[in-house]
């Protein structure tokens, strides 16, 4: 096991966000963390990353390089900044060679001439790809992606996920993916961890876990009907 979580409890501001959660992740797996807004998905990821105090057990196997794409790291914040794509890559703590950056930009399907463009002027889809390259360029063993397609249109959406899957096939990285989008769950995840606002949780392979009844329990009244892909 790469990660073992047992009886995890996390409270924020007096509210218990995560209650008695247990699950495990093996090396090279894709775990999708699924649930509606406010169910504590981001909180869980931040807890696993050691950014939030917790009770219970979180055990990582050995020391690993981690890449993280936080939710809401969107263009709005950078829209007014003169930071170019190349300068954004130069902010990384480990200095990365320009040739390496170019390799990863091409890997995520971007032209290398975006390097001199301002990061804030890229299209939504380009920006997300650029972020993915930014995370991958340090060659992490594990990546955490918190809603990586926020603000990207559906066409852009699908390609980012298939891209992620391709990259995973090539380099044996473990991926933690947060989403509320069910379509991608069935396609690529090894396991799904679902969280709901009422504290209901489930964990297991997507096809076994997610029947209509389970989905209703997770999402409540928000989603009435789902078509399995």
């Amino acid at each position: 096991m790469l990660l073992e979580v047992e009886k995890l409890n996390v409270s924020l501001g007096g509210n218990r966000i995560i209650k008695n959660l247990s699950f495990g992740v093996k090396k090279g797996e894709i775990l999708t963390i699924l649930g509606p807004n406010g169910a504590g998905k981001s909180v869980l990821v931040k807890t696993l990353l050691g950014l939030i105090p917790y009770e219970g057990k979180i055990k990582w196997e050995g020391k690993m390089k981690i890449g993280y794409l936080p939710q809401g790291l969107n263009q709005l914040k950078m829209q007014k900044s003169p930071l170019t794509v190349q300068e954004f890559f130069e902010l990384k703590n480990l200095s990365v060679k320009l040739s390496e950056i170019k390799i990863f930009l091409e890997l995520v399907g971007l032209e290398t001439d975006v390097l001199s463009q301002k990061a804030g002027t890229l299209s939504g889809g380009q920006f997300q790809r650029m972020l993915l390259a930014w995370v991958l360029v340090s060659k992490p063993d594990i990546i955490f992606l918190d809603e990586p397609t926020t603000g990207v249109d559906i066409a852009g959406d699908k390609t980012i996920y298939s891209l992620l899957y391709e990259i995973k096939q090539k380099q044996n990285i473990t991926i933690f993916l947060i989403t509320h989008d069910l379509n991608i769950v069935y396609k690529h995840s090894d396991n799904v961890l679902c969280l709901s606002r009422r504290g209901h949780t489930c964990f297991g392979p997507p096809k076994e876990m997610l029947d209509k009844k389970a989905l209703e329990q997770i999402f409540g009244m928000e989603i009435k009907y789902y078509e399995h892909h």
Binding site: K46, L49, L51, I66, G67, Y68, L69, P70, L73, K77, M78, K80, S81, P82, L83, T84, E87, E90, L91, K92, N93, S116, K118
Partner: protein, 262 residues
């Protein structure tokens, strides 16, 4: 003859320190603008009030009074942010009220002008030397923390995962701000220091195509504002502080025209 020489000497000294203060304020200002922190400079500058008051009452040089107060205020803001998680702007507003309150309580009104509009024209050679050394130190420190602070500004959690010690860099950053604010109080006075930090980066942003050019233009505009302001103020026989700021505003308007044409 002697009087003319002294005056010329004073102008040269104030120009030298002005260029250094203008440049370093603008450089740090580029970092602050990206953190939406230029608003914090104002309150910090007003923290100088009690310091100026004490310096004037005890007949000390203004910097002796200002620096400890601004640094103490800065550490207080840093500590409160860590403990309360309130936005820096809110905390600064509290510190602002504290500074002005205490300042007005003790600052003799007839001597308030020096604190408000600065006293660079009466700067001594020793003080000029101090300004140069402090500017160079702040420049080196700021350059060291620059990229890390930008990453913290973009996303604090992301910076942490990248291995940046957020709390440490925030403290170094705020101390640099405190040092620059103290210098700014020298040149343009507490009231207008914020303009020295905010105007050149804002002007530079209008015309730059990358962060590198943004930093460079900000420093150039900061230096021109200080230099031009001092010379124009001498020529018009006007107080230096306001003229330096108005020069900065003029540059900003010019870059706006450039931006709208580009």
């Amino acid at each position: 003859m002697n009087i003319i020489n002294t005056t010329t000497m004073q102008i040269i000294l104030s120009l030298i320190s002005g260029i250094f203060i203008g440049g370093i304020s603008a450089y740090l200002g580029t970092l602050m603008l990206s953190k939406k922190m230029t608003v914090v400079a104002g309150p910090l500058a007003h923290l100088a009030f009690p310091g100026v008051a004490i310096a004037l009452v005890f007949g000390l040089s203004i910097s002796t009074g200002v620096f400890p107060f601004v640094v103490l205020g800065t550490i207080l803001i840093w500590y409160l942010e860590k403990k309360t998680k309130l936005p820096l702007e809110n905390l600064s507003a509290i510190i602002f009220a504290l500074g002005v309150g205490i300042g007005l309580l003790f600052l003799p009104i007839d001597k308030a002008e020096e604190a408000l509009v600065g006293s660079i024209i009466s700067i001594t050679p020793g003080e000029t030397f101090f300004v140069i050394i402090l500017s160079i130190i702040i420049f080196l420190v700021t350059r060291y923390i620059y990229k890390k602070v930008i990453l913290i500004n973009i996303d604090e959690d992301l910076a942490k995962i990248e291995g940046v010690k957020v709390s440490k860099y925030n403290l170094i950053y705020l101390l640099s701000v405190a040092a620059v604010v103290s210098l700014g109080v020298y040149l343009v006075g507490a009231l207008i220091t914020v303009a020295l930090i905010a105007l050149p980066p804002a002007s530079a942003k209008n015309i730059s195509s990358s962060f590198r050019s943004y930093k460079m233009w900000a420093i150039i505009f900061g230096m021109i504002s200080a230099m031009g302001g001092i010379l124009i103020a001498r020529w018009l026989e006007a107080p230096i502080g306001p003229v330096v700021v108005l020069t900065g505003v003029a540059i900003f308007l010019l870059t706006m025209i450039f931006k709208s044409r580009a």
